[in-house]
């Protein structure tokens, strides 16, 4: 019998319960989907790493003789170490608009159990005898290659032909970036090729390794062997030595997994919290309304337990249906979500993890929230004795509130306004709920829009305001800046050429140190602007160094700090040499230090060196220029900014859709809260509202009492949402801050405005839904009842 009563009660308030279920579904869906995606990615990652023997450490050197490897193998703690030759080359593709680069990585086909082994998906084994290679599958697809196709590369100005005999994946290049300044993999212009070591030796006429990978014995940390290895590699021109956690592909994958994990934890709690609040206020109201019925049940001899379980069956039904639907949707969505991530992260597909565990966890989670909220809502009535329950509750008492002490404000209000404002303190729990809900709705939208804004702005600023050149030519070795500048400037169509020196160094402040690249730029550069936080250009000092904010904080450096500089580039370098910090500037993409190129050259005592050139050219001269220099042994790459920019815009367009989802979430939250609290308010105050209609007020005037209260609370909540959104952005900024990317915590006025509009729209929509209930109020019925 009671079950029938419950189902009919649910039906009566279906709007509110539906809102609650929708919010719950969203929460559990996000929880299940993201948890599964994280699991899928982690499982793929782990099995891929294990099966392909992914290295624990990576080093780059100038030149390490083949014979020296044996010596390194003996270092205690190192399990396996392999030398490699790694070279970036250009693919000869005269028909292509863009330059296509290939990273050649040597491997020994005769060796078993190689580190970072290639997972061959299709093709034949490599042979040391012929010019054959394997390429990564993304590149294979993007270039429309077929097995046994020929690929022509340019080495030292000569074209060499390589035969593609297989394609597959490498654990080292799950997220394949050509340089750390790239933000996303681009298989159209960059690929990985694995080449037999003997072929590699032949192509580059070299007998030395320039790259090392190694694995560690179980229980050994990278730090344990770092010093020894650094000491042993120093004579061979050590350029970098990093643990797995700093390896680009690995760290980006980890970052993505971590942020997904955070989402899987935070978002459901938020949604379920909101659902719980809706349930709490709805049940509380229901029980107040059914006070008489409860009295009768008690008088009949129903026990407290029976009555409690009756009322808890409402949240039970809601939580079960919400979490079940949410869980199923989450499981369904996990597949496509994982595939989406696989587009970016090139890993073999592990069988998708279909786990009933998350479904159960989701149900448990939502039951906890719902029953907890339900119990809180019910517990008071149970204490009542039957006779007491049968009597009507004591009438609400009006009270003056603090705001009335502000005559200026108070006198502005109509009588409806006064009622509305006093109502806020009448039901503090519900007002708090409305406040928190609107605050979240506002903060979520403000911060997501802002984040979108910022990311766009940061990236676009980099291209439009910082790097204002058209072309950048990177060289494979340092050259005389003046001579090459002169040559490039004289090329037809080139308006301006400026040299740039990119010098890898280790900066040290006491025990803190960081490997970075110093950018040496001409004073008053026209092609590369250094900007301060306000976007004004900053002059390079004649002496000393500018640091990016993140670098300064990593090194704990401030203006005037003297940093020790170590560089592998120069032999017999005196590592006690110091440079003074003369400025700290924001930098959102990458992490660099900046010097006047002349000061840098003098500091290095290396003559007028440059490692790349920035050019502005006439558009139609870009292709002839590329053609002329692409085959030069000196030229490592020619990058046209417009192309990179275009690709970035494409990527951002797809990223933008995420923002709409967040905005939608904000709207749903705002709507659910306002709708359910309006409906409850209308039901609770139906008598007052009906009396006002009898007085001759229009339904709109009557509604205004309810809406004024919500707008009033909403205004306060939106103001509170401003610091809240800042807090959220700070959290996200800290979570994603890395050497590749950092984010300023600034929320633009436009974002606030947008958040205001979105929040207001969802409040308004929900109020319209509640307005229907007021129109339907039957004056005669309501007023006939006894209070």
């Amino acid at each position: 019998m009671l079950r029938k009563k419950m189902l009919r009660d649910l039906k009566e308030n279906k709007g509110t319960y539906l809102a609650c279920i929708v919010v719950m579904i969203l929460g559990i869906m996000v929880f299940t989907a993201f948890s599964l995606v994280v699991d899928n990615l982690k499982i793929s990652q782990k099995s891929f790493y294990t099966e392909q023997n992914f290295a624990d450490g990576f080093a780059q050197v100038e030149a390490l003789p083949f014979s020296a490897i044996g010596n390194l193998q003996n270092i205690k703690g190192i399990k396996q170490i392999e030398g490699r030759i790694v070279k970036d080359v250009q693919v000869y593709a005269p028909q292509s608009q863009e330059n296509i680069y290939l990273r050649l990585v040597s491997m020994d086909p005769s060796k078993e159990n190689r580190l970072n082994d290639f997972l061959l998906e299709k093709g034949t084994p490599l042979s040391n005898k012929t010019m054959n290679i394997w390429v990564d599958n993304k590149f294979f697809e993007a270039q429309n290659l077929k097995l046994n196709d020929k690929l022509e590369i340019i080495v030292n100005g000569k074209i060499r032909e390589l035969k593609v005999v297989g394609f597959g994946k490498s654990p080292e290049f799950i997220y394949a970036l050509r340089t750390t300044a790239d933000l996303y993999p681009s298989p159209e212009t960059f690929g990985i090729a694995f080449v037999p070591i003997e072929i590699m030796e032949k192509i580059f006429v070299t007998g030395v390794y320039n790259d090392l990978v190694f694995s560690l014995e179980p229980g050994v940390d990278f730090e344990d062997i770092e010093d020894t290895l650094e000491y042993k590699l120093k004579p061979y021109g050590l350029r970098s030595l990093i643990p797995r956690k700093d390896q680009v592909s690995h760290s980006l994958l980890e970052m993505e997994i971590t942020s997904l994990e955070t989402m899987a934890r935070v978002m459901p709690v938020m949604f379920l919290g909101i659902a719980a609040m809706i349930l709490y206020i709805t049940l509380k109201r229901l029980i107040e309304q059914q006070r008489g019925q409860i009295g009768i049940l008690k008088a009949f001899g129903y026990t407290r337990g029976e009555i409690l379980s009756h009322y808890l069956s409402y949240p039970l039904v809601i939580a079960l249906s919400g979490s079940f639907i949410g869980g199923i949707l989450g499981i369904i969505l996990a597949g496509p979500f994982t595939s989406m991530y696989r587009l970016f992260f090139n890993m073999p597909e592990a069988p998708d993890n279909f786990s009933i565990l998350y479904l159960i966890l989701g149900i448990v989670l939502s039951l906890t929230f719902a029953l907890g909220a339900g119990y809180q809502g019910c517990k008071n009535i149970l204490k009542l004795e039957p006779a007491q329950a049968l009597r009507p509750p004591s009438p609400p008492s009006g009270r003056r509130i603090l705001l009335e002490r502000i005559p200026f404000f108070w006198n502005m209000l109509t009588v409806q306004g006064m009622m509305a404002v006093r109502n806020i303190s009448r039901n503090k729990g519900r007002s708090f709920f409305i406040f928190v809900g609107i605050m979240f709705c506002f903060a979520i939208t403000a911060f997501t829009w802002s984040m979108n804004d910022l990311i766009q702005k940061m990236l676009f600023d980099q291209y439009e305001k910082v790097e204002v050149y058209d072309l950048k030519i990177s060289l494979s070795q340092s050259v005389d800046a003046k001579a090459v500048s002169r040559e490039l400037s004289s090329f037809p169509g080139v308006n301006r050429a400026e040299p740039m020196a990119e010098i890898p160094v280790t900066l040290k402040n006491k025990w803190l140190e960081k490997d970075v690249v110093i950018l040496g730029l001409p004073p008053n550069s026209h092609l590369y602007n250094i900007l301060d936080a306000e976007g004004n250009s900053v002059e390079l000092p004649d002496k000393g160094i500018l640091l990016s904010e993140r670098l300064a904080s990593l090194l704990n450096a401030s203006l005037g700090t003297k940093l020790n500089v170590d560089t592998p580039l120069i032999e017999d370098w005196d590592s006690t040499k110091q440079v003074e910090v003369r400025g700290i500037i924001p930098q959102y993409v990458g992490i660099n230090a900046y010097m006047n190129i002349n000061a840098l050259q003098e500091f290095l005592k290396a003559g007028p060196l440059a490692t790349s050139f920035m050019l502005t050219t006439e558009k139609e001269r870009v292709i002839p220029l590329k053609e002329k220099y692409r085959e030069s042994a000196l030229v490592a790459s020619i990058e046209a900014k417009e192309e990179s920019f275009k690709k970035l815009q494409e990527l951002m367009a797809s990223y933008g859709s995420f923002i709409y989802i967040y905005a939608l979430i904000g709207v749903i939250i705002g709507f659910a809260i306002i709708y359910s609290s309006s409906v409850i308010t209308v039901s609770e105050r139906s008598r007052e509202l009906a009396s006002m209609m009898v007085l001759g007020m229009t339904p709109a005037e009557v509604l205004s009492v309810v809406t004024f209260e919500q707008w009033f609370l909403g205004l306060g909540a939106m103001i509170a949402g401003i610091p809240m959104s800042k807090l959220m952005l700070t959290g996200i900024a800290q979570a994603i801050e890395s050497d590749i990317f950092s984010m300023p915590v600034v929320i633009s006025p436009t974002s606030y405005l947008l958040a205001l509009i979105i929040t207001a729209i969802s409040i308004w929509l929900a109020q319209q839904a509640a307005a229907g209930k007021i129109k339907k109020l039957s004056l005669v019925e309501v007023l006939k009842e006894r209070e």
């Binding site: 009438p395 609400p396 008492s397 009006g398 009270r399 109509t414 009588v415 409806q416 006064m418 009622m419 006093r422 109502n423 009448r426 008598r687 007052e688 009396s691 006002m692 209609m693 009898v694 007085l695 001759g696 007020m697 229009t698 339904p699 005037e701 004056l779 005669v780 007023l783 006939k784 006894r786 209070e787």
Partner: protein
Amino acid sequence: METIMVAKNLTKTYQMGEVKVEALKEASFELYKGELVVVLGPSGSGKSTLLNIIGGMDQATSGELYYLNKPLHTANSKELTLYRRHDVGFVFQFYNLMPNLTAYENINLAAQIAKDPLPIKELLEKVGLANRADHFPSQLSGGEQQRIALARALAKNPQIMLCDEPTGALDFTTSIQVLKLLKDFSTSYGKTVVVITHNTAIAQIADRIFYLKDGRLVKIEHNPNPLPPEKVTW
């Protein structure tokens, strides 16, 4: 006397679940300016239905109703709202004051939507509660609350004042105070007052008495010598 309302064959049927209930059957009558009408009848005789229809809170199923020659039986909900807003004052058995507005503010709630409201201070004095203007309903006794409700209904300066058992929840002395106010409103302001009650003693103050039974208006009685309220006892 000037006629302000004419009703012809008003009938109201309710659908109560599966049964049809005829709450009012073919009631025809007129209301005059400045008179006090008492409607008598046992519970369920259709008193409240009649009052709700006169007050524009409900509409008859059939029949015609004119207020100052304007038809109310064909009015839409907007027109009915305007009618209630400007021409009708309501007083209920259970006061229906806004719990979170003070006595003064409750009256003001009505006054601010009226075209030609009566001064609130004067009304408070009239109902003898000028010193309680700042009290909330929960701080007032039943009789005081009803007097505020009365003042609220008067504040709009309506043509017709409709009272549904206005003394039903009050003791004798307070009831007499309320009745005095109603009588005064009809005589000194020249407004029409309709009072529903099942207390036959109250009928003695009326100019006319309507008798309702089983939804029918069975008799309309003229009372040439109404008693002043203070002389009524029960």
